[in-house]
């Protein structure tokens, strides 16, 4: 399908959306959106959480039908009644949340619905595996095409999604935050593949909250605010500051809060960190992590860095007790936590904001209110009964503190935009008033303004004496926020860098193991697993 037309900015758009409106009940997600994608051009779509980016993409993909407005293909109006129509018209779409089939193999996931066929219409499994392997190799990911998708990490799931879209060889490639779960090299590989497609004349739509990526990949940018079109301009003619201003409709705040910035009331050094609030010793789980030990003091922010799949999230889940662990002890404020009992961990003052909000963080079908108060239902009840407006008041208070945007507290949380869902997860745990807070990728998929808010919030909590373990794949976040950086590699803790020594380079080196970093390090091999 790849049209080999030269990239010509004056070309008529391949696909365009004109004055598109779309509401869900009382919520107007799109209120006059415009977008035009041209052959051979990468087009960025930016906006705050809930601005309507994903909705716009779903309209383009034939998932939603617009209430008003038209979709044009090569200048002629078309109606995509379902995703098949859009695909038939040459659109390949990567949606925001990866939707793989856990029971099918990776190869089948890539080719679902269009498997290569041999005689009698039988699926040619060999050819399918070979082709899938080739696409994955192009993306630089040595995934086995025969393995089932179940159990793939979020990053790998995203890669498979990308492979699926790329292998379609479509005229239009639409990507909704494809990089949110990826690490550097994978992003680079993805970009080079997209570049190649673009050079062959494909039109590309790219959604991301990371401006560095937007500027690296795209030629044009459209800003969406509150579902309405704000501006479209060549990237060369605009600046990040200007874009952010257009997104939020006001002067942007500081984009990243550093702990030592004057915004934060209690900068480190002014207050020495308190007593150890979280102590982890010899934590192990067969095949996942081994002999992990560290401590986090009250008022301290400790970052846990590492490559995707290094086992950071597993450690967090082991500490909290949702996953079993084979050995080791976890102590919160002097109380030793029994393994496998999240409730005991919560009682001791531990909270975990998990990385996968849709699976682990939220019950999508339940209302915003129910989600926000779920871990606290017991505390909110009187004589064992939840009556009156206690739940509601509590939910509203926290939703407002985090500036969550929702239609009604009784709406299913699944109808919120990705970023706002993340805020509900944060609200849910912050409301428990934890002594130790573990946040796993707290800003994944969150827009730039909100991200700063989340950072400020975390810094504020630390200042209030909460011990914070921050797991993040974003180095600037790690370096900007943390008092100390722990680095994990292949299930082991390999380095500990105090703030002064934590540089991008040293963290990467520790994480990849290419060179033992200097300075105080915990990389020395320890004894056998204490199982």
């Amino acid at each position: 399908m790849a049209a080999s037309r030269p990239a010509d900015p004056d070309d008529a758009p391949v696909v365009a959306l004109r004055d598109v409106w779309k509401s869900f009940g009382a919520v107007a997600a799109l209120r006059g959106a415009h977008l035009a994608l041209r052959a051979g051009e990468a087009h960025a779509l930016v906006g705050e959480n809930g601005a309507g980016k994903s909705t716009l993409i779903r309209v383009l993909a034939g998932v939603h039908r617009p209430d008003r407005g038209v979709v044009e293909l090569d200048g002629a109006p078309v109606e995509f009644r379902n995703p098949q129509d859009a695909r038939a018209a040459g659109l390949a779409v990567i949606h925001q949340e990866p939707g793989l089939f856990p029971d099918l193999t990776v190869a089948e996931n890539v080719f679902v619905g269009r498997q290569p066929r041999g005689r009698f219409g039988r699926i040619d499994e060999r050819a399918m595996r070979a082709e899938a392997g080739a696409v994955l190799a192009r993306l630089g990911v040595p995934l086995d095409p025969r393995r089932p998708a179940r159990g793939l990490s979020i990053a790998d799931q995203q890669i498979v999604e990308i492979a699926k879209a790329v292998s379609l060889k479509a005229r239009v490639l639409v990507m909704d935050e494809p990089t949110a779960a990826l690490s550097g090299p994978e992003v680079e590989r993805l970009f080079s593949v997209v570049e190649a497609l673009r050079a062959q004349g494909a039109a590309v739509l790219f959604v991301s909250h990371r401006f560095a990526e937007v500027t690296a990949l795209c030629q044009r940018v459209t800003v969406l605010r509150d579902g309405a079109h704000v501006s479209t301009a060549p990237l060369a003619e605009t600046t990040v500051d200007r874009l952010v201003e257009q997104m939020v409709g006001r002067e942007p705040d500081a984009l990243l809060v550093r702990r030592d910035s004057p915004d934060v009331p209690d900068a480190p050094g002014q207050h020495p960190p308190g007593a150890p609030a979280l102590e982890v010793k010899g934590l192990s789980r067969a095949g996942v992590y081994r002999d992990v030990g560290f401590e986090v003091r009250a008022g301290e922010i400790v970052a846990l860095a590492g490559l995707v799949g290094a086992g950071r999230s597993e450690v967090a889940r082991g500490i909290f007790g949702v996953d079993p662990r084979d050995g080791g002890t976890v102590t919160v404020a002097g109380r030793v936590l029994p393994p496998g009992r999240p409730r005991a961990a919560m009682a001791a003052g531990l909270a975990l904001v998990p990385e996968d909000r849709r699976q682990q963080g939220l019950v999508l079908a339940l209302s915003v209110q129910r989600n926000a108060t779920l871990p606290r239902a017991r505390q909110l009840s009187r004589f064992g009964f939840l009556v009156g407006g206690a739940e509601r008041r509590a939910a509203r208070e926290w939703a407002e503190r985090l500036r969550t945007r929702y239609g009604d507290l009784d709406d299913p949380v699944g109808t919120l935009s990705g970023g706002n869902q993340q805020k509900v997860v944060l609200a849910k745990w912050l409301a428990t008033g934890p002594r130790v807070l573990i946040v796993d990728e707290p800003t994944r998929g969150i827009d730039i303004g909100t991200k700063a808010e989340v950072h400020r919030l975390i810094a504020q909590l630390a200042a209030d004496g909460v011990a914070i373990l921050l797991i993040s794949s974003e180095l600037p976040e790690v370096l900007g926020m943390a008092d100390r950086v722990l680095v994990m590699r292949e299930g082991r803790l390999v380095a500990e860098l105090p703030r002064a020594e934590a540089t991008e380079e040293r963290v990467i080196r520790a994480a990849t193991g290419h060179e033992t970093p200097a300075g105080p390090s915990r990389a020395a091999p320890r004894g056998e697993v204490t199982a």
Partner: protein, 344 residues
Amino acid sequence: MTVAGRPPERERGGAALLDAVLRFRALGLLVALVLLVAVTWLANSRFLSAQSIRDILLATALTLLLACGMTMVVVGRGIDLSVASVLGLSAFGTATVLADHPGLPVPLAALVGLAIGAACGTVNGLVIAYGRVPALVATLGTLYVFRGLVYFLAGGSRISAGELPRGFLDFGTARVLGVPWLFLIAVAVLLAVGEFLRRHRAGRDLYAIGSHEEAARLAGLPIPSRLLLAYVVSGTLAGLGGVLYAARYGTVDASAGYGMELDIVAAVVVGGVAIFGGSGSVYGAALGALLLTVINNALPVLGVDPFWQRAVVGALIIAAIALDRLVALRVAASLRGRDDAHVH
């Protein structure tokens, strides 16, 4: 902006092992089957007489047919509780047609049964795929409706063997090279469904839909038509089952096949088809059907007290799925153990 690099892929060994295990799970059923047959045979050598084997094959044929359709439906994350009622309706319909028109060629009457089944399946499919009614609700409803229809049509009447043409009844017990026809038909259906589910796009689509319906929608798979197909096939096979039922038992009344749906679901589940869709094979379901039939036939032969039989069947169903699960857990554990070797 993010941390660079990724660890080496460590799943390769896993996929192969998983493959082996999936095969082993079927093996587990086979071992159970062989053991059961051996024990019964030791207790009573007549259990393996030609007659007895033919009886088992005949009895399996019906369960097998229905289990094939049920597998398609369950793989797509549905369930068809109406199969037994459809079987009853088709059996009664076919028998009525044959009794009322003695001259009618048997294949034509069989077509009537198939058509009844297909029509019932279409109703199920439309309600589920296009009306978006959960399968359990819809087919529980049609379980009542179709059975009610048979009652309504049959009233208290019963069509007995004497009213059916000789040729039709002979077909019920006829054999080729000693193997009952009915069983051969069931096996042919089994192979066809197996091939369809493994090697054809529409079949794979069912697995995809059962695995993650929302993703299937986004991937542009024609979900409603695939589901419709599954239910129509399930209904048609139940219809065919009805024809074979009439041919084999000769006597057909309104309660033909009553309560059979749970046996079929049990066979499919015992055969390792995940009740929540997305995985399992029709061959496993076939083994499950065979195992349950053999259990049912072996217990009287073993002289198990009739009052104990039902309890034993229940216990065996539980044992089969528990065993299956334990094997899967062990394998998962050993997979992790292998990975552990890579964590240095």
